[in-house]
Symmetry: C2
Subunit: 390 residues, 2 copies
């Protein structure tokens, strides 16, 4: 088995334990530890203005560009719990630092995922943290156990690795648009043994996120808890260039994002939408997102229905430059609409496969282009997301 | 039976006929004729930039504030059909003017609704128009037949009337978010025997639309064909004030919008969302729309699940001023979240009824407020909208 995940890079250990937060008795806490010699880090967080207590805490924690560990729990988001939520997140942090022998508790980030609005069961949380020392290890199995412990409605753990000349980037992730019984969170932890400054990590992470996690749009919803963290141990002794670092971080982010798309709850189709022929990349992204969030379009994809009229109706509402009489659309590389008019045979295109590629040219002749990954809207999505939270 | 619909006001006649556009053999063409003595009119159209040929034509037609008739067909949207679509819409207009003895064909507006991207069957269309003269009448039955003839996936015809001191406003409508086999259109025709200038009609229509049809948001989709037309015959001899006209037009628009919400395909719940406590009405509307379009929230409503965490996660992404730590939420007048924190018993609120009232206070203390009507996201919605268009 290839060594993938957060322990693939030198200088990292990980653990996953059963703390008793989940009624199912499954793994529900994890920790990823950076053993150095360097402790540089960067992070991106949810753009939602309603943020969970662990996000508030971790934003502050990572501000100095240093992290020695990240502690995770699944089964409870610790969001919308008022000041008690803040107190509980802080206790998770200090207890983890204490038990792992980390001098400054500000060097520990905290991530939670699960139901919103329920207080953390702190007895379970603390007993979980107390198990970390015995459970830590640096092999592939320990990384996989940590990846399992952050799962909520994910059906498979999500891990990635990319190896370069003497250095490695690994990652684990969970979530996005998988939501029962409550809103799900995207959590990602990226580790590398490269030597890289916090600024270099920040640039690499922002560039990669903007074209991977930020364009993975299952249902347009954004969690209160979304957090992506990258830590660099420097243990390889290699200092990649910024371009090399960007490329490698992008590679693992893309792989995790694709695994999230494939595992999104209720998915029967993976839909990749590319918009071009508008004035800027930002406008192309607006149009691709508008289409990717259109329920009529997503239902048509579920039905394998090449209903290109819904594509036009959706992009026609987007905030993007377009020539409304010269829009073209193709499904799986077959042109179905040209000059905003259907082409013969357009309704016979076969969309029965699991992957559907949609391309829209907005007809301005501009250079703007963007790609968004989404899914269909299925019965299973409704079923999963209408289940009682109680 | 109360005389409601487009023939309730003096000076109007209507007809509904079977032209053969629908394979089912149901009524599929209608006309509403203003017999004067005045012919003032106003209209609002879809904000979509991809617009159907009849919308392009009717925009021009109504620009001078005069209309003598509106011709309707269902079963085919005449959208995205290139210049042939424009030609066909123009022929619908001139043939209707010719057969009804209307001197200027620019006094006839055209509305179509149905599948996008199929050419109009002009043989059927012209034979339908040729039936109008024999089919026209001014009683309640003729209005109802016209209302039936514009239906697509509507299950009931939608009509309204409001009577004032000596004058009357009536209306018929179809659609919004009822979409199989393709994107559905909202078409509304309002008639009044008041004497009112085109400018007065325009103001009344825009004010009413902004708080009725514009805030009825079933799935966030906007059709290529949406058209709301008001015509005034002056036959009552009464000239209401602007305020009186506004109030009466609003009354019929609200009634039609409520009928649309109740009849939206796949609906099991009618959800009314009111947002307050933000800086402006526009910001409150943004937040209410963001919530009304959030699939996770809509699935929770389908499941009668008082999952207030999804409300916070949705409004947290809205473009509206908010105090993220002081948001409150109530379901059916029971507070479930205060200061962005759950209140005891929040998960026990009974949402099993068909109507759910959601109120969100964004906590800034501002005066902004807005209400949006939406529905749940149900299995039936997915079923209906994933059916093949072919």
């Amino acid at each position: 088995m290839e060594h993938t995940g957060v322990t693939a890079a030198q200088g990292f250990s990980a653990a996953g334990v059963t703390a008793g937060i989940k009624a199912s008795g499954k793994l529900d806490m994890a920790v990823v530890v950076n053993n150095g010699p360097e402790y540089n880090a960067a992070a991106v967080f949810t753009r939602n203005r309603v943020v969970a207590s662990p996000v508030k805490l971790s934003r502050t924690t990572v501000a100095d560009g240093q992290l020695r560990a990240v502690v995770y729990n699944s089964g409870n988001a610790n969001a919308c719990n008022g000041t008690q939520g803040d107190t509980d997140a802080a206790l998770m942090q200090t207890r983890t630092a204490d038990r792992l022998g980390i001098e400054k508790h500000e060097d520990v980030a905290v991530c939670s995922t699960g139901l919103i609005g329920e207080l953390l069961p702190m007895g379970s949380i603390l007993s979980g943290i107390d198990q970390f020392n015995d459970a830590l290890g640096s092999d592939a199995e320990h990384g996989t156990t940590a990846a399992k412990a952050i799962m909520t409605t994910d059906t498979v753990p999500k891990q990635a690795v990319t190896r370069r000349n003497g250095w490695t980037v690994g990652a684990m992730g969970k979530g996005v648009g998988m939501i029962a019984p409550s809103l799900a969170t995207m959590l990602v932890c990226i580790t590398t043994d490269a030597s890289a400054s916090p600024e270099a990590l920040d640039e690499a992470l922002r560039q990669a996120s903007s074209v991977t996690f930020d364009t993975l749009d299952i249902d347009g919803s954004t969690s209160t808890n979304d957090t992506v963290i990258v830590m660099a141990s420097g243990a390889s002794g290699v200092s990649p260039t910024q371009a090399e670092l960007n490329e490698a971080v992008h590679a693992v982010c893309l792989e995790i994002a694709q695994q999230m798309q494939a595992d999104a709850e209720g998915v029967t189709k993976r839909v990749t939408i590319t918009v071009e022929g508008t004035d800027s990349d930002a406008e192309a992204l607006n149009a691709a997102r508008t289409l990717g969030r259109d329920n009529l379009f997503k239902c048509a994809m579920f039905g394998s229905d090449p209903n290109w009229g819904r594509v036009l109706a959706a992009v026609g509402m987007a905030d993007a430059a377009m020539n409304a009489d010269q829009i073209s659309v193709s499904f799986n590389n077959q042109v179905v609409c040209k000059n905003t008019t259907g082409v013969p045979g357009a309704r016979d295109v076969d969309l029965s496969g699991e992957d559907i590629d949609v391309r829209v040219d907005l007809g301005t002749g501009g250079e703007g282009t963007a790609t968004v990954r989404t899914t269909d809207l299925s019965h299973a999505y409704v079923e999963i997301n209408s289940a009682y939270s109680t």
